[in-house]
């Protein structure tokens, strides 16, 4: 008896994970439009410098997060899958971090050695 109850619960849960209420999709959809509009506005108003960078990155990560979490259902997936997908990104993060240092170094040496009065 207990076993069957558990089965039913699981079935419900399983169904929940695969189909959500339509409202949530529509909301996310709307949010994506709004965020894209905002990030377009960053260019429209020609924000520059750190403000531009942080705004661009902020909207980008928010959009990416929404798509992954809700459209790709990662929000409802078990942590085992989520972890497997997100941990490898540390390698990419490390690569990005080091390449930032690398391009600055290359740029510096190029100005220093190739451009009159550079650096």
């Amino acid at each position: 008896m207990e076993e069957t109850n558990k089965m039913n619960e699981t079935t419900k849960k399983e169904e929940q994970t695969s189909t959500q209420k339509i409202g949530i999709y529509l909301w996310i959809w709307l949010l994506l439009f709004v965020l894209s509009f905002f990030s377009y506005m960053v260019d429209w108003y020609q924000f520059q410098g750190m403000l531009r960078w942080s705004l661009i990155l902020f909207f980008m990560f928010l959009k990416a997060g929404l798509i992954m979490a809700f459209f790709m259902h990662l929000f409802w997936e078990r942590y085992a899958l989520v972890n497997v997908l997100l941990w490898p990104m540390t390698a990419i993060a490390c690569f990005i971090f080091l390449m930032t240092a690398e391009f600055k170094y290359t740029l510096f040496s190029r100005f220093f050695y190739f451009v009159v009065g550079g650096a």
């Binding site: 690569f95 391009f103 170094y105």
Partner: protein, 612 residues
């Protein structure tokens, strides 16, 4: 000699801990294993000869196809190395050997051995054959994609081999393909040769991705009942981690191949700065050659472990079975494999200490690189501690394993030289490097491959390989290979640079002549000795002794198939149910000195240590 050990009774055979997610409580039935979560796999059995042996969807046939194709490329690579050694040991002896040819042979030898031989052999060959058998699956999860994977690899090999016959010949840029020289005149094969190489590599990556998805999902999602991750044989762990690395590292190779193809074909300047060639300034500007090196080694270093980790895994199993002893510190071994794999993405630029990159990277990469030495050393300790107080069969398989330990420890320790940034400075780009990586990722994995061939041949072919021939094969190979690469380190100490077609006019290098002759002769012998195995296989297939079902008395599932060799679907009517790890050897009180993974705890209850 006392044969009685004081077995600590507190250690229990690792039998079924019952997993019950809902309560975490222990099920009173000690043989209980969770019911199947996934339905029976729908298998497509081939109907015609072509469907059974050519475009076959059976992972075992695909594995053999991968194996044979990889061995074919390996033999090509071997012949190329003979030609190189001929030139180095006896310059001018072969009249056709020009510098162009020499560099083409160097390049093709390197690329073939690393990518098309070792990677394909371990992951495509052993991976396909062993994964489904060892985790108790009927087949790979996507047999059709798996079949495509092999044929993609086959086409990649065909394209690679075609480059020998195009005008200008194959590329001679060195296997690292560093731009700008790779695509400039002045390097042999900078026309068609390099293009075919890049296309072939891209095809290989695509084909491998197809296979790799199969290996990963089969291991993650298609294990049999009772087969938890921590009950998988280390072979599967090694191949699994290597596959993960490959899935994440090959993208960098693909990207660099695409970018270099564009540099070559469309004159883009990704990797090409302003270049003055033959008095002309070329149509390039602003690119960065070092970017290629970063991308290449972001792939290239994990690639080293793609070759090494399956070897680690397989050798652990072989040692355990033939020492009749459980692998020492299984958990540590698993975490070491995973840790090495993870860390391998953070160490790539230790190949680039003298490349002119940002000098501060040296600190970062030296530190991360030497951290890897710790899990690697742990693995070595655990191998020898597995031998310790074992009951070691000194047969051919065990000899290869012992040979692996010697060569691997040797090569691993020279790795500490090269990983330690300022020690690398005098040694990089010398013969020391060549000696190091041949020892650690050439000879050592090869030892494992050979051991694995002798170990699993009875399963694949149903016949036992000849032991005597096997021992001759081992000793010639081991002693020969050791005497090639051990002295070669000393050429590096002298400062002899690598990739030199001819070198003896330097005053301080003259003493190297004698050693080079010796090394060349040893190389010829070792290469030739490999044909002992070919002879052995042919002879065995014809007249060999028929193998029993489980000739080595091993525990893992591949020996408990319905037939030997296993048929399509592997396990007959019912999939096996797993109750324990595969290393229950010499359990005190048990009848035999091995307890198969499928044996339920109630069947060995009299051992008294079997408590759940």
């Amino acid at each position: 000699m006392s044969d009685e050990y004081d077995n600590n009774k507190s250690y229990q055979a690792q039998s079924s801990e019952v997993i019950d997610g809902s309560t975490g409580s222990v099920n009173p039935d000690i043989d209980y294993v969770r019911p199947a979560e996934v339905g029976e796999q729908d298998l497509y059995h081939g109907h015609s000869f072509i469907e059974k042996w050519v475009f076959c969807q059976d992972a075992k046939v695909i594995g053999v196809q991968y194996f044979l194709t990889a061995v074919f490329t390996g033999i090509v690579g071997l012949i190329l190395s003979w030609l190189m050694r001929l030139q180095l040991g006896f310059p001018g002896l072969a009249g056709f050997m020009t510098a162009e040819h020499y560099y083409q042979f160097v390049t093709m030898h390197g690329m073939i051995m690393v990518v098309y031989f070792l990677t394909a052999l371990f992951l495509g060959g052993f991976g396909n054959y062993l994964i489904p058998l060892m985790v108790g699956a009927r087949d790979m999860v996507f047999p059709y994609v798996n079949m495509l994977s092999f044929w993609m690899f086959f086409v990649a090999v065909a394209v690679l081999m075609a480059s020998f016959f195009v005008p200008g010949g194959p590329t001679g840029a060195g296997w690292t393909l560093y731009p700008p020289q790779t695509i400039l005149e002045g390097t042999p094969g900078s026309g068609m040769g390099i293009l075919l190489m890049l296309i072939s590599l891209s095809l290989f990556v695509i084909g491998f991705t197809m296979g790799g998805l199969n290996y990963m999902i089969t291991i993650l999602q298609a294990r049999t009942r009772g087969m938890t991750l921590m009950r998988m044989p280390l072979t599967v762990w090694g191949i699994f981690t290597a596959t993960v690395l490959a899935m994440l590292a090959f993208p960098a190779l693909l990207v660099s191949a695409i970018m270099m193809t564009l540099d070559k074909v469309l004159q883009t300047s990704f990797f090409m700065p302003t270049i003055l060639k033959a008095g002309e300034v070329l149509e390039y500007g602003g690119g960065s050659p070092i970017l290629f090196q970063h991308l290449f080694w972001f792939f290239g270093h994990p690639e080293v472990y793609i070759v090494a980790l399956p070897a680690f895994g397989i050798v652990s199993d072989l040692i355990s079975v033939h020492a009749r002893k459980n692998i020492f510190g299984y958990r540590m071994m698993v975490w070491a494999i995973v840790g090495i794999g993870g860390l391998s993405f953070f160490v790539w630029a230790h190949h680039m200490y003298v490349s002119g990159m940002n000098p501060w990277f040296g600190f970062f990469f030296a530190t991360t690189t030497l951290i890897i030495a710790v899990p690697t050393a742990m693995k070595v300790y655990n191998w020898i501690l597995t031998l310790w107080r074992g009951n070691i069969r000194i047969n051919t398989v065990m000899l290869w394993c012992l040979g692996f330990i010697v060569t691997f420890v040797n090569g691993g320790i020279t790795g500490i030289f090269l990983g330690n940034v300022s020690v690398d400075v005098p040694l990089s780009d010398t013969y020391f490097v060549i000696a190091h990586f041949h020892m650690v990722m050439g000879i050592a994995p090869l030892m494992v491959i050979m051991g694995a061939v002798y170990h699993w041949f009875p399963l694949v072919a149903g016949k036992m390989l000849h032991e005597g021939l096997g021992k001759w094969h081992f000793w010639i190979t081991f002693l020969g290979a050791y005497s090639i690469y051990f002295p070669m380190h000393y050429l590096g100490f002298i400062g002899v640079p690598r990739r030199y077609f001819e070198m003896y006019d330097s005053p301080y290098m003259t003493s190297a002549v004698g050693m080079n002759e010796f090394i060349s002769i040893a190389a010829f012998i070792v290469g030739a000795a490999q044909f002992i195995l070919v002879f052995n296989i042919i002879k065995t297939l014809k007249t060999g002794k028929k193998a029993e079902q489980n000739p080595w008395k091993a525990n893992s599932l591949e020996w408990y198939t319905s037939t030997v060799p296993p048929e399509h679907g592997n396990f007959g009517e019912r999939l096996p149910v797993v109750h324990r790890w595969p290393y229950d050897f010499s359990v005190p009180g048990a009848k035999d000195d091995f307890i198969p993974q499928t044996t339920a705890p109630s069947e060995v209850i009299h051992t008294e240590v079997e408590k759940t």
